[in-house]
């Protein structure tokens, strides 16, 4: 590779995104996204942040069909 001229660098040679840029996104957005999955998948089932059954009943069919344990 080192003997080749720069003009032959392939078009799609992937350049990594700096870790310092990815990590804050991965941690904070990742946390919020996991929380969103939790609300569809498990809130008011095995665990509860809100009391009552409204969230559970509202996403009920989705929860069953997406394969989460329910009831």
């Amino acid at each position: 590779m080192s003997t080749l001229s720069p003009t032959s660098i392939p078009l799609s040679q992937p350049v990594p995104i700096p870790l310092g840029e990815v990590l804050p996104w991965a941690i904070f957005a990742g946390l919020i996204l996991v929380l969103a999955v939790y609300f569809v998948g498990a809130e008011e089932g095995a665990l509860s942040i809100f009391s009552g059954m409204y969230v559970h009943e509202f996403v009920h069919d989705g929860r069953h069909l997406l394969g989460f344990p329910c009831h």
Partner: protein, 246 residues
């Protein structure tokens, strides 16, 4: 760049969620209705009073299902795009579309298929409320182990890449994944709470419909996100474009 990728991952997720909603509406809802009728019949036979409806069936099967599918799929699409941002160019030399496709496929196997084989999806009427905590714990334990073993299998395959070549290294990683997962499945307890006279055909179709819904979500994410990410990353590297021979 990560934020832009995240946005595209979530857009791909919304597309997948919409398609999965349509699929679930047609193939899943009749089975849910059947299971609820079974549940009510069994309840009435046992002399229990009918449960009051907190949310109507029409809402559950319509807006509720749509919301659930889109929120779930958009969140997963976002997580997939964050994994993509970490792996792209760092642990993988694949182009954007190939990497998005591979990540979605590996994600589907690790997050959906493996846990579903051990603890498959159940319609209403299957599963007793008293065991919801232990069932949820076991399901997420299986999911977590499956994801960690998948990551380890890829690391193993990369390790042998230079010595064995891509094909054989992938076989080593794949075999290691299968052996460890099979052992874990043997160790974790089984759950079977299917009522004795519940239709086996309905149960089978429900589980297939559940996997179908997930297959749609993950395929749409891999393909739509790959398309969007490729365009984004190609636009971000105009220098490389200019240098390459046309």
């Amino acid at each position: 760049m990560t934020g832009k990728l995240l946005l595209r991952g979530m857009i791909a997720g919304v597309v997948g969620g919409l398609l999965a909603f349509l699929f679930a509406r047609i193939y899943g809802e009749p089975l849910v209705d059947f299971a609820i009728a079974f549940e009510e019949q069994a309840g009435a036979a046992a002399g229990e009073a009918a449960e009051p409806e907190l949310v109507s069936r029409a809402t559950q099967a319509g807006l509720g299902l749509l919301t659930g599918a889109i929120v779930y799929s958009a969140a997963l699409g976002g997580i997939l795009s964050l994994a993509f941002a970490l792996v792209y160019g760092r642990f993988s030399a694949l182009g954007a579309r190939s990497l998005a496709g591979l990540l979605a496929l590996a994600g589907f196997v690790a997050v959906i298929l493996v846990p579903a084989i051990k603890y498959p999806a159940n319609p209403p009427a299957v599963g007793s409320p008293e065991t919801i905590v232990i069932r949820t714990e076991l399901y997420f334990a299986m999911l977590l182990v499956s994801v960690l073993v998948m990551v380890a299998a890829f690391a193993l395959a990369r390790h042998y890449w230079g010595r064995l070549g891509a094909w054989n290294a992938a076989i080593v990683g794949g075999l290691a994944f299968l052996v460890v997962i099979a052992a874990v499945m043997l160790l974790l307890p089984d759950i079977n709470e299917v009522p004795e006279n519940f239709s086996a055909a309905i149960l089978w179709r429900f589980r297939v419909a559940s996997l179908g819904m997930q297959a749609i979500i993950w395929s749409a994410q891999g393909l739509v996100f790959g398309f969007l990410a490729e365009r984004l990353l190609a636009g971000a590297a105009p220098a490389a474009r200019r240098l390459s021979p046309a």
